[in-house]
């Protein structure tokens, strides 16, 4: 079980309000990702749930019980830190055993859980090494192992992949997703990387300046962003946000169109422009196009074989079904 409810939770450091009162529900077994730019309060929110920070106001309930005043150890939550926070003087085995030792579990039970965790995480050969002798990915797995053996109500991940290189990150992303499928335990995952959020989450919570901008499944957020911020934050490359007369044509203050929803043609189309920088990825090509009459360049995705170069004329046609419209306040117009 791991159902977590935040009710009017507020956090302030002195006079600075980091998180204005906020409500959030996390269902049992869900994989929830907190995503937002750095300094948006997502880590603080996680630490509030963990109990490492005290709430200024509001209540946190875990499985229906008020946990606001409980110390971190009593909340039955396990956390994986950005720096892994392994104990450097202990072997991998002792690291994983530490929470069970603190809980005064029998040695037999400890060993069987360590073996199981080590097997699940491919750590069996490294149990007698120290963290200093392990690679980044292995340390990450030890940190996860230390969390698993406690059989917590929920796992908390604080940007766990940001210290890994790109290739390893993709691999660990899969492993964590698989782990979630296997354990079926609630997981809360903090990241600033929207790709991680999109690929792993059941539910994404987009935060900005401590305020929840939108909560929803990855595709909901992609298809119907509630405001300009979410529209720009989710999706890679970013959605093109266009203001001015072109937006007025659609009765909106701003319109948004994703790079993948524009059709490219060298001869004819709605918008005419000049190709600027182009990024060839092999499968796709991204053109940054200076369109006549637009303040900002428009990014567009084309196939890998489109033969256009810097300075060429280009015509873009948006898919009118997929244009997002926003009002003066940046809110979505349905």
């Amino acid at each position: 079980m791991g159902r977590i409810q935040l009710k009017q939770v507020k956090k302030a450091f002195g006079d600075v309000v980091v998180i204005p009162p906020l409500d959030l529900e996390i269902e049992d077994g869900e994989f929830v990702v907190f995503v937002g730019p750095s300094g948006c309060g997502k880590s603080t929110l996680l630490r509030l749930i963990a109990g490492l920070e005290d709430t200024t106001a509001g209540t946190i309930e875990i499985d229906g019980q008020d946990a606001t005043g409980l110390p971190p150890a009593k909340r039955r939550l396990a956390m994986v830190f950005q720096s892994y926070a392994l104990y450097p003087h202990m072997t991998v085995r002792k690291n994983i055993a530490f929470p069970m030792r603190m809980a005064k579990m029998s040695l037999q039970e400890q060993n069987s859980r360590i073996e199981a965790a080590a097997k699940a995480l491919n750590l069996t050969d490294y149990l007698d090494r120290r963290p200093g002798q392990l690679s980044g990915g292995q340390r990450q797995r030890v940190a996860i192992g230390r969390a698993i053996v406690r059989e917590p109500a929920a796992f908390l991940f604080d940007e766990p992949l940001s210290n890994l290189d790109a290739a390893l990150r993709v691999g660990m992303r899969m492993e964590i997703s698989e782990l979630h499928k296997k354990l079926d335990t609630t997981m809360i995952y903090v990241t600033h990387d929207q790709v991680e959020a999109m690929t792993m989450a059941d539910k994404i919570v987009v935060l900005q300046a401590g305020v929840i901008e939108q909560v929803g499944s990855p595709l909901e957020l992609y298809r119907t962003p509630r405001n300009k911020f979410v529209a720009g934050f989710i999706g890679s490359p970013k959605m093109n946000l266009i203001e001015g007369p072109e937006a007025a044509k659609h009765n909106a203050a701003t319109i948004g169109i994703r790079p993948e929803h524009l059709t490219v043609s060298p001869e004819s189309g709605d918008w005419k422009g000049i190709v600027g920088v182009s990024e060839h990825l092999g499968s796709d090509t991204f053109f940054h196009v200076a369109v006549d009459g637009f303040a900002e360049t428009v990014t567009v995705r084309a196939g890998g074989d489109v033969d256009l170069h810097y300075g060429d004329a280009i015509y873009l046609t948006p898919d009118h079904e997929l244009i997002h419209r926003f009002d003066e306040k940046g809110l979505r117009i349905p």
């Binding site: 150890a73 720096s83 392994l86 450097p88 003087h89 530490f98 929470p99 230390r146 406690r150």
Partner: protein, 292 residues
């Protein structure tokens, strides 16, 4: 750019310093060894110009068979051990305390470090006359205030008093080194331990103390080297009386009081050997911490 030319140039440029340091160490060492095999009593007319008699190992035999030799070794070890124990234990506690965010942290830290800046002779005098004096000392007043008989610290509890004075001097050093070690501890480790269900005392025992082990090793090694040669504090307070005669002090007495340079030099060689034995022991016991 370690080319052959730059390496030999570096060697030439370092040479003066190396030669100076080598001379600094070798000349006194050789002289001590030289005198230790000679009969050299300046008051009885022996002099370098007149030539000194070679006496072989006689000085060594006399120094070690003297009834004050073994007690002085024992005194040395007790004094060094006592000071180490006090400074390390209190140093760890003070370091943890100073690591807490408090108002006026900077000033408090300077105050804590201050005793280290006071010369040994001066601090010993201050302790002797201002604090421990049985008639006018602050402690005597304090004792009388509570209706107790003032203690004559330096004669009745001489060893403890000197250990106290020396600890007071060395505590800042231990605290300073341990404080930097405490500050280098990753706070996420403590938070992880907290989430893992470790209460404060267990966090200290399982996380903080192992993290400090290397710094404690350094404190013990450095302090031992300096504490083996404590002199000023004993000279100023008890003058070696009341069971406070350490090996260093015994050598001083042999050379200056008895004017027997040969005998004192032999003692000096014993002191070198003792210091090395202690150093090897320490390296064995705690030195493995430095490898990790």
């Amino acid at each position: 750019m370690a080319t052959k030319a730059s390496r030999s140039a570096a060697r030439i440029m370092m040479a003066p310093a190396v030669i100076l340091l080598l001379g600094w160490m070798l000349v006194p060492l050789t002289l001590t060894l030289f005198f230790s095999f000679k009969k050299y009593l300046p008051m009885r007319g022996d002099s370098l110009e007149g030539g000194l008699d070679w006496v072989g190992f006689e000085n060594y035999g006399r120094f070690i068979s003297s009834s004050s030799f073994w007690p002085s070794v024992q005194t040395t070890l007790i004094m060094v051990g006592g000071v180490l124990l006090i400074t390390v234990v209190l140093g760890v506690l003070l370091a943890l305390l100073l690591d807490q965010p408090i108002w006026g942290q900077g000033v408090v830290r300077i105050l804590v470090i201050a005793p280290f800046f006071v010369m040994p002779t001066v601090s010993a005098l201050v302790w002797k006359n201002m604090l421990m004096d049985p008639v006018n000392g602050i402690l005597a007043h304090l004792w009388r205030f509570f209706g107790a008989e003032p203690v004559s610290w330096l004669s009745d509890a001489s060893m403890q008093s000197i250990i106290l004075i020396v600890s007071w001097q060395w505590l800042p050093f231990a605290t300073l080194i341990l404080l930097t070690a405490v500050q280098s501890l990753d706070s996420e480790q403590l938070e992880a331990a907290e989430m893992d269900g470790a209460p404060p005392l267990k966090r200290f025992w399982h996380i903080v103390l192992p993290h400090l082990s290397r710094a404690i090793t350094i404190v013990i090694l450095i302090q031992t080297i300096f504490l083996l040669s404590i002199f000023a504090e004993i000279f100023v307070t008890t003058g070696g009386a009341f069971g406070t005669r350490t090996l260093t002090y015994l050598i001083f007495q042999r050379v200056v009081d008895s004017q027997n340079i040969g005998l004192g030099s032999a003692g000096g060689v014993y002191a070198i050997i003792l210091a090395n034995i202690v150093a090897i022991f320490l390296m064995r016991i705690v030195g493995k911490n430095l490898d990790a």
